[in-house]
C-alpha cells in the first residue's frame, strides 16, 4: 500500500482573459493557484469545494487536455506519473505525441451523461474506439469480446451493444461512460461529478458499481464532487478546495467529522445529515460571496469571509501544515 501513482506539485492553471478590439490579453483567471497532493495506487481521493473553486480544472489538468480545450492556457508545476516500476514522468509538459502512451493510463468520467457520449456512434463503437487506438494488435473478434465483457462489468446487457446513446437513461449512459473509461485498463480515473446529474437512487447504484469495479481492477479514483456525503462514502482521503487552493487534506473520517479549517467547517455544517446524534453541530453561515478568481484577495483567499481572520492573513498565502489530528490544513489560526 501507500505506493504513489500521481504526484501533483504546485499546480497552477491560469486562463487568459482577452479584451478590446484586438483581443489582447488583459488579465488572467487563476483557476488553480498552487495545488499539491498525491494520489496513491488503488485509493480514492475525494476533491470537494463549491462551484467555481477550480476542482474540475484540476481534474482536466491531470488528464492534460486543457491545452486542447482552452488555447492559451498557462500551466505551471508538475504532474508526475509513477508507473509500476517506479519510473517517473512529468505529464504536464509532454508534447501531444509523447502523451499518447499515458492517455490509456489516466481516464475520465464526466458529469453530464448526455453530452459525454457521441450520439452518432453505437455503444459498441463508443467502447471499441479506445481499444482500436491503444491496442491496435487486438483482432476484431477480441475487441468485440472485450466490449461485451466491459458492458457486463458495468451492469448493462451485452445485447444493448448495437444501440445508440439516445435509447438509454441517464444512469445507463453513465455506465457506458464508465465502460469507455475502463476499456484501456487505466490506473487512475478522474470522476468529475459523475453522479450529480443523476437521481438519488441511481446515484447509489453508480457509486456502488464504481466501488465494485475498484475492488476488481484496483485502479485509483480522483472523485470530484460538491456533495460531501457522496464523497465521504466513497473516498479514503478528502481534499477541500477554495478559490484555487487546497485548504484542508485529511482522511475521510477526519475531514467529515472533525474538520479543522474554518472553510471546511462551514462547508460541512451545510450538509443536511439525517442523523439525530449530529444535531449539536453548530451551523456556520459564511457572509458574502466567493471572490472572483480574476482578482483574488492577497494572502489567504478565504480571509474576506473567514470568521477567525487576523490582520496577518492578508500578508502571506498560508501553506498546508500538519495539525494534531493528522490533517494538513492551510490556516495557522485554526
Amino acid at each position: 500500500m501507500s505506493e504513489p501513482l500521481l504526484e501533483v506539485k504546485n499546480l497552477r492553471v491560469r486562463f487568459p482573459v482577452h479584451g478590446g478590439i484586438l483581443q489582447r490579453k488583459v488579465g488572467s483567471v487563476n483557476a488553480v493557484d498552487g495545488v499539491s497532493f498525491t494520489i496513491e495506487r488503488g485509493e480514492t481521493l475525494g476533491l470537494v469545494g463549491e462551484s467555481g473553486c477550480g476542482k474540475t480544472t484540476v481534474g482536466r489538468a491531470l488528464i492534460n487536455i486543457l491545452k486542447h480545450v482552452a488555447p492559451g492556457v498557462e500551466l505551471d508545476g508538475e504532474v508526475v506519473y509513477v508507473d509500476k516500476d517506479g519510473k517517473r514522468t512529468d505529464l504536464l509538459h509532454l508534447s501531444k505525441r509523447d502523451m499518447i502512451p499515458f492517455r490509456s493510463k489516466i481516464q475520465m468520467i464526466f458529469q453530464d451523461p448526455y453530452s459525454s457520449l457521441n450520439a452518432r456512434l453505437s455503444v459498441k463503437q463508443i467502447i471499441a474506439e479506445p481499444l482500436e487506438i491503444h491496442n491496435p494488435e487486438m483482432s476484431k473478434k477480441e475487441v468485440d469480446d472485450k466490449v461485451m465483457w466491459l458492458l457486463e462489468r458495468v451492469g448493462l446487457q451485452p445485447e444493448y451493444a448495437g444501440r445508440y446513446p439516445h435509447e438509454f437513461s441517464g444512469g445507463q449512459r453513465q455506465r457506458i461512460g464508465i465502460a469507455r473509461a475502463l476499456a484501456t485498463n487505466p490506473d487512475l480515473i478522474i470522476c468529475d461529478e459523475p453522479v450529480s446529474a443523476l437521481d438519488v437512487s441511481v446515484q447509489a447504484q453508480v457509486i456502488n458499481l464504481m466501488e465494485d469495479l475498484q475492488k476488481e481492477f484496483g485502479m485509483s479514483y480522483l472523485f470530484i464532487a460538491h456533495d460531501l456525503s457522496v464523497v465521504y462514502h466513497i473516498s479514503k482521503r478528502i481534499a477541500v478546495m477554495y478559490l484555487g487552493n487546497l485548504v484542508e487534506l485529511g482522511t475521510a473520517n477526519q475531514v467529515y467529522f472533525d474538520p479543522v479549517h474554518p472553510y471546511s467547517r462551514a462547508l460541512l455544517s451545510s450538509v443536511p445529515v439525517p442523523d439525530p446524534t449530529r444535531k449539536n453541530v453548530k451551523r456556520v453561515v459564511l457572509q458574502g460571496d466567493i471572490p472572483t478568481p480574476l482578482n483574488k484577495p492577497s494572502g489567504c483567499g478565504f480571509r474576506t469571509r473567514c470568521p477567525v481572520a487576523q490582520v496577518e492573513c492578508a500578508a502571506n498565502v498560508p501553506q498546508l501544515l500538519a495539525k494534531d489530528n493528522g490533517a494538513l490544513v492551510a490556516c495557522p489560526y485554526a
Binding site: 487536455i65 480545450v69 481516464q107 475520465m108 464526466f110 458529469q111 474506439e129
Partner: protein
C-alpha cells in the same frame, strides 16, 4: 433494468431522422414534387424533342433521340445524311414523336399574331415571340434549374463547411482571419457583383453562373458551420476523445463533423432555393445564361417584352414557385425531423 419493447431498437441517427421526416406530409409531398421535376429533367430529351423517339426511314429503324444524347456526350456521331437534316420534313415510313414534339430552341416562324402564339392544341402552353414552344422550354429548363441549384450549392457547401469547420475547431488567429474573410465577402452586394462579372465576360456560360452563385454564397454556411463546430467542440465527448488520445483528424471527422453538419445540410435545402431564384432573377433581367439557352428565367424575360402574352409569365412563374416551395418545405421538414424538441 427492464428491456423496453421498442420496434426501433438499435436505430441509427440517420434512420431515426428518416422516420421522423416521413411523418411530415408537406415534406413528403415536396419530396415527390422534387422527384418528379428531377425525372422530367433527366428524361427531358425524351419528353420534348423535335426528333422522333423511334422512326423508320426507307425500311431502317432509327432512334434519333438516343443518338442525340450520344452526340451530346461525345460517344456517337450523326450519320452524314442526318447531320443537317430537318427532322420534320423527312419522309418516314412511320415515326413515334415525343409527347411534346418541339425542341426548346426550335422556332416556328409561321406563328405571327398573338392569337397564334397563345396556348392551343399544337402548342399546349403557347410559344414566345419567335415561336419557341413554352412547354418544351419549361421541360428542358428544369435541367438548368436543378443543376444550377445543386452545383452552386455544392460549391458553396464545400467552401463553407471547410472554412467554417477550420475556424470553429482551431479558433484563435485562424478563426479571426476566416471570420474577417467571411465579413469581407458578405459586404459585397452579391447581385451587382455577379451582374458586373457576367457583363465583363464576353461569352457567359451556364458554368460561369453556377460558379459565381456558389463562390459568393458560402458565407452564411461558413458562419453557421463555425457556430455549430464551436458548440460541439466544447461538449464532453470531445474532451473524452482528447483524453483518450485520439488524433485531431479523427476527432474532427468522426466526432465533431457528424454532429455539427446536420443543421448545415438542412440549410443547403434553402441554399438551393436561393440559387434557383438567383438564376431566374438574372435571366429575367437578361444577364443570365446565353440567349440560345432556355431557362425558366429566360422565358419570364420574354414576358417583359410582350405584355399580353400572359402564358409567358404564368407558366414559368408557376414552375419556379412550385419547385422553390418544395425545396423550402423539405428544408423545414428536415429541420423539424432533427429537432429533439419536436420528437414524438
Amino acid at each position: 433494468m427492464s428491456t423496453p419493447v421498442n420496434k426501433n431498437e438499435g436505430e441509427s441517427y440517420g434512420a431515426f431522422v428518416r422516420r421522423q421526416f416521413r411523418k411530415n406530409s408537406f415534406g413528403m409531398v415536396s419530396v415527390w414534387i422534387v422527384g418528379i421535376v428531377a425525372v422530367i429533367a433527366i428524361f427531358a430529351d425524351l419528353l420534348a424533342n423535335d426528333k422522333p423517339v423511334v422512326c423508320s426511314l426507307r425500311g431502317e429503324v432509327y432512334f434519333p433521340v438516343v443518338r442525340e444524347m450520344g452526340v451530346t456526350f461525345g460517344i456517337a456521331q450523326w450519320g452524314t445524311e442526318f447531320a443537317t437534316a430537318d427532322w420534320k420534313a423527312l419522309n418516314y415510313d412511320w415515326a413515334v414523336y415525343p409527347l411534346v414534339p418541339y425542341a426548346p430552341s426550335s422556332t416556328d416562324k409561321q406563328l405571327v399574331t398573338l392569337k397564334e402564339r397563345a396556348p392551343s392544341g399544337s402548342h399546349w402552353l403557347g410559344t414566345d415571340d419567335i415561336g419557341r414552344d413554352v412547354l418544351s422550354g419549361l421541360i428542358h429548363g428544369s435541367r438548368y434549374a436543378l443543376s444550377i441549384g445543386f452545383v452552386a450549392m455544392s460549391i458553396a457547401l464545400t467552401i463553407g463547411i471547410i472554412l467554417g469547420a477550420i475556424a470553429g475547431f482551431f479558433g484563435g488567429l485562424t478563426d479571426l482571419l476566416i471570420s474577417r474573410l467571411i465579413e469581407v465577402v458578405i459586404t459585397f452586394p452579391r447581385f451587382f457583383l455577379i451582374i458586373t462579372i457576367v457583363a465583363l465576360v464576353e461569352e457567359g456560360t451556364l458554368w460561369l453562373i453556377m460558379g459565381l452563385i456558389g463562390l459568393t454564397g458560402w458565407t452564411s454556411i461558413a458562419r453557421f458551420m463555425r457556430g455549430e463546430v464551436l458548440r460541439v467542440r466544447n461538449l464532453d465527448y470531445v474532451s473524452a476523445a482528447t483524453a483518450l488520445g485520439y488524433s485531431t483528424t479523427r476527432i474532427i471527422f468522426r466526432h465533431v463533423m457528424p454532429n455539427a453538419i446536420a443543421p448545415v445540410l438542412i440549410y443547403a435545402a434553402f441554399g438551393i432555393v436561393s440559387a434557383i431564384l438567383f438564376e431566374s432573377a438574372l435571366s429575367f433581367l437578361g444577364f443570365g445564361v446565353p440567349p440560345t439557352v432556355v431557362t425558366w428565367g429566360s422565358v419570364l424575360h420574354k414576358a417583359r417584352a410582350s405584355t399580353y402574352s400572359w402564358w409567358l409569365a404564368v407558366f414559368p412563374g408557376l414552375m419556379i414557385f412550385v419547385t422553390v416551395s418544395a425545396f423550402n418545405l423539405i428544408g423545414d421538414a428536415l429541420r423539424d425531423a432533427t429537432d429533439p424538441r419536436l420528437r414524438n
